[in-house]
Symmetry: C2
Subunit: 225 residues, 2 copies
């Protein structure tokens, strides 16, 4: 399944949190890639050509050799296998990392991103719906903050895909109308993430147009290109 | 990671769709198990004893030998590996099955179950929130129905965890106020699922109290106990 010699191509949109998640994972793994910008606002993800790449009509999509992968958490697991890192320590660690990815997809992702969207476009929603989404987001953030009170990373002694996967939506916390300072353990975790080689925030990381992404920092110190 | 000789214990609640998902998977795999009912309404999932089993304070939980697994989609992948079936054909099929599990968690699960909950308890919500949840549910059901228009199963030529994972929330479609007859391809898929050995609907499958579940139908025809 793993094609370690082939090149990566990421299809994404610079405002998409799930695309940032995959871009950040590639950066942390020190993997260079071709970036293809998909014009979501223009409906490029609904064309037959794009649907042939991703039946769900969504970004991100990652191509690696002959493989086409979709769904950001599936891509993270794949990249952890390809890059040989961030998967979690041993079988139990790998399971726990997958469980946290599932938790983030279940409790955080459906709420924080919609809260962000409706904050930018209040006319698309109603105060009741925003309250509902904000409440669920706050619950998830409080749980995440408690979970990080006694450990530096979500699983084991070092960063894993659990941290990358749960961080991606949290990176948009301020845009969603929350204050990171209200969550001291999340803030400390964010600072630790920020020290990892290759880490960058969404607007610094995501290209706005097609690009060849050569990473400045490589895990092994070598030049990426 | 796979402990094929050990017994399974499922912690769940009979009204929980994610618990039904795991119970159905065990049944389709012909795996007998001990069932432990967790009193969600009484807060049993918030006790220290339960949180030591599942840090997320949720059901389902599956124990297998010394392993404790949480998050229903992670459990499905694990059971597919243990039981040697329903994982999808080859590496590409297995990836596609995981992608569908992620789609179901993203587009169907957060909406259909809350629609169902608020239909039973309208005083907990508002018409605006119900409209929001119903709209997202309808979008997901329409997509699922279109996806099943040209194929019998979501991935490949036979049933996989993709079907089990996406079926579980759809099993509650009527309780959520939708009519399955409006989705002819979903209805045909449901009929195909219904013919699988071990298949049962939620109320027929899920015990209301602790139980030893000996399955009437085994994949290999042997008695389960």
């Amino acid at each position: 399944m793993v094609q370690s010699g082939a090149r990566f191509t990421l299809y994404g949109h610079w405002l998409s949190g799930p695309c940032y998640k995959v871009g950040l994972m590639l950066a942390l793994c020190g993997l260079p890639y071709e970036y293809r910008s998909v014009d979501l606002l223009g409906g490029a993800n609904r064309t037959d050509a794009f649907l042939a790449i991703n039946r769900f009509g969504e970004v991100p999509v990652l191509r690696h050799g002959s493989l086409t992968l979709v769904q950001s958490n599936v891509i993270l697991e794949y990249l952890a296998a390809v890059a040989g890192g961030l998967a979690g320590e041993g079988a139990a660690g790998a399971l726990q990392a997958k469980e946290w990815l599932a938790w983030g997809a279940d409790r955080l992702k459906p709420y924080i991103y919609r809260t962000r969207t409706f904050r930018h476009f209040p006319e698309r929603s109603s105060p009741q719906v925003v309250d509902y989404l904000r409440g669920a987001t706050a619950d998830a953030l409080a749980f995440l903050d408690r979970s990080l009170s006694s450990r530096p990373w979500l699983v084991g002694e070092g960063p894993t895909i659990a941290d990358v996967g749960c961080w991606a939506p949290v990176a948009y916390l301020q845009e969603a109308g929350f204050d990171q300072a209200d969550y001291p353990n999340i803030s400390a975790w964010a600072a630790r993430l920020g020290e990892l080689r290759g880490f960058a925030l969404p607007h610094a990381l995501m290209p706005k147009a097609d690009a060849t992404v050569r990473l400045a920092h490589h895990r092994d110190g070598a030049d990426a290109t």
